[in-house]
Amino acid sequence: MVDVPGAEPPGSHLDDSALLALARSGDQRALETLCRRNWRPVYRSFARYTSDPAEAEDLTQEVFLRALRSLPRYTDRGVPYLAYLLRIAANLARDRWRAGPARVVPVGDLPDGPAPGPGPDGLAVASDARATLLRALDQLRPEHRTVLRLRILEGRPASEVGAMTDRSPAAVRQLSVRALAALRAALEQQRGVVAADSGRD
């Protein structure tokens, strides 16, 4: 197990096909690398169904365990392994939410008119922007992701983040600056990729 959370173990330079071949032969490092490389998109595929991180994590783990069980039968046809994982995730989500109780419970009277706020187009744009932001976050170094998550998402003061990460509060502040700069650069790169894709379309 690597020491830095979120870091990929040795062997991460191999592509998924090579890692799958190694994993099938019992190489646990290869399996671990496949998990670390692909868990975030799988996890986020559940975010549309649940707002509970623990539940999303639970389900993500189940996806990988199902994939592991079917590994001997898996045929590598050159399709990204992530696509296969996402298909398992979709099946799992469908089974889970179809079998479970209704998650949406109407409360109170329905409004007469459309709710204020962005319409479908606006929501789609916001969703794209969020997806771009999340992909950019994935590109960051683990310590950058960690400091932004603890400081901004969890709202912890710099002193507490420092205590959790063995840094002084000043070092946390500086790391936040560097992390935001790295995130801006990653965002620009992501937007460039999106623009290039749009151009090809």
Binding site: Y43, L68, L153, R173, R184
Partner: protein, 519 residues
């Protein structure tokens, strides 16, 4: 603007982050981010600069959108572990930490426990909540002392034994930092039963006076430094309390006492006895009163059944819950209800050989309940439990597992089982939670481990040495181990530990909290 060392830039960004957090807090309850927070890294329509807009957008992400990297570590570890079997590598504490199987933490008083240890230490695990003669629990019979330790299945079992492989967590926790040590703040004579701190200042224990002949509920209003004896408890009551007190306000509390409740408005300096008027009731097990009017209790009936009951008039009248949710063998290890009607109860179920943990939850103030699946805990000799609120409990086994119980707002209750991190290398002595994610585990090292994120990462607070005595006490507890732990706020805890003097009624009070005010 940026200094040579970047300090100015760091402070400026720090302020921007604080402002974004404050905006999010102010808009708490809104359905989404305000306009302008969706243009990451670009100037927003409301005049936010690029950096500020980026911070704003980050602040509006949901935790489920942006998982911690440790989640990937846990997933990868669980998946790789699923490919491996480790029959010869027990993950529990070192053998020299093993001690005779002890007791649940809702348990018999120490002086009575000594009498029982020679016969059946493990049996106490299943006799914790209701001390009823002839309890119908199938595993309440005696067995050879220490047999659980000497024949531990852990030595030959796979590393994980939870019923649901997808919920198996192997390397879930890391020690990431150190926090302040516990320090001794006072001493108290107690009847070894419970410690409940309802704030960083106000705590309760079952007190003992006149050489242990008289019991009361003693209170401290200075974080455990000094204690005041309460009114002596009524004669003819149960031999012991079986649960902690429940206090909707620091000095207004309820406590189960036989087939009655004790109610106080002055911190048990005085109390009144409220009989629980349910037909064929024999004992009130645990009670939780989120307000002075609303109480939920677990009661035992004369036919052996357990059931939930609730009151909306401060314990004056009671109604039995709708459905039969509990079986007679369930141990309701803890019960906690919130003002909004959310309730949760942590259950110890199964048999001595195959103990399980489970939970039930309610969203309507105890009227109806939903039961979770059950999960096995490998070789659970002794349990520890704490429910921080009506949606979250932590159940621990002393030898290496934690079960995180969480009920959603819709009432669905799930459990996540994980082993102690390997770095702890110790037994668990007590658990306490200040909120769902903010929990503490006292270990036999002795140390206090703290988590802010429901066990995903841990900080370590070494407990101050309590005594120089090197011998263990008669019941196998180390003289400096923490026996009771209560953490009313996420900043820390108050703990009771044996002072090692050999006098079982003399305990040292530890704390890493600063009392704010007397109440």
């Amino acid at each position: 603007m940026t200094d040579l060392d970047g300090t100015g830039d760091g402070l400026r960004v720090d302020r921007l982050i604080d402002q974004a957090i404050a905006r999010r807090a102010a808009a708490n309850g809104a359905t989404g981010p305000p306009d302008g927070a969706e243009t990451a890294g670009r100037a927003g329509p409301d005049g936010l600069g690029p950096e500020e807009a980026l911070i704003a957008e980050l602040s509006w992400l949901r935790p489920v959108d942006w998982p911690a990297d440790e989640a990937g570590d846990r997933i990868a570890a669980a998946v790789t572990a699923a490919t491996a079997t480790t029959p010869d590598q027990p993950t529990g504490p070192r053998p020299d930490h093993d001690r005779p199987a002890a007791v649940g933490y809702l348990r018999t008083p120490r002086r009575r426990r000594w009498l029982a240890l020679g016969a059946a230490a493990v049996a106490l695990l299943v006799a914790a909540v209701f001390q009823l003669t002839g309890s119908p629990h199938p595993t309440a019979g005696p067995g050879p002392a220490g047999s659980r330790t000497s024949q531990s299945p852990r030595a030959t079992a796979p590393a994980t034994q939870t019923q649901h492989p997808a919920r198996t967590w192997l390397t879930a926790m890391r020690v990431v930092a150190r926090t302040a040590a516990l320090r001794a703040v006072g001493a108290v004579n107690i009847d070894d039963n419970f410690l409940t701190c309802v704030s960083r200042s106000v705590c309760y224990v079952q007190g003992s006076s006149d050489g242990g002949k008289l019991d009361d509920i003693a209170r401290s209003v200075d974080g455990g430094a000094t204690w005041s004896a309460g009114e002596t408890l009524p004669a003819g009551g149960p031999e012991e309390f079986t649960a902690q007190v429940s206090c909707p306000h620091p000095l207004t509390c309820f406590a189960p006492y036989g087939a009655s409740l004790l109610e106080t408005t002055d911190g048990f300096a005085h109390y009144v006895v409220l009989p629980v008027d349910l037909p064929s009731l024999t004992q009130v097990g645990v009670v939780s009163c989120p307000t002075t009017l609303d109480c939920v209790a677990v009661v035992r009936l004369s036919d052996g059944r357990q059931t939930f009951a609730y009151s909306h008039d401060g314990g004056g009248s009671w109604t039995e819950g709708r459905a039969r949710t509990l079986s007679s063998g369930d141990i309701v290890a803890a019960l906690r209800c919130d003002r909004d009607g959310a309730c949760i109860a942590a259950l110890i179920i199964g048999t001595e050989a195959t103990p399980l943990v489970g939970a039930v939850s309610s969203t309507d103030g105890g009227l109806s309940w939903t039961r979770s699946r059950s999960y096995s805990i490998v070789d659970m000799q002794q349990y520890m439990v704490s429910c921080a609120n009506g949606q979250n409990c932590l159940i621990g086994s002393n030898d290496g597992y934690l079960a995180w119980v969480h009920a959603t707002t819709s009432g669905h209750v799930g459990i996540r089982v994980q082993p102690f991190p390997k770095s702890w290398d110790a037994l668990g002595d007590a658990v306490a939670c200040a909120s769902g994610p903010d929990c503490f585990v006292a270990t036999s090292s002795p140390q206090l481990e703290a988590t802010r994120n429901a066990g995903h990462t841990w900080t370590l607070a070494p407990a101050a040495p309590i005594t120089q005595a090197g011998n263990t006490s008669d019941d196998g507890l180390l003289p400096d181990s923490i026996v009771y732990l209560s953490c009313p706020v996420r900043a820390g805890c108050v703990a009771l530990a044996n002072d090692g003097s050999g006098d079982q009624s003399s305990w040292v009070v530890l704390s890493n909290l600063t009392p704010k005010e007397s109440s």
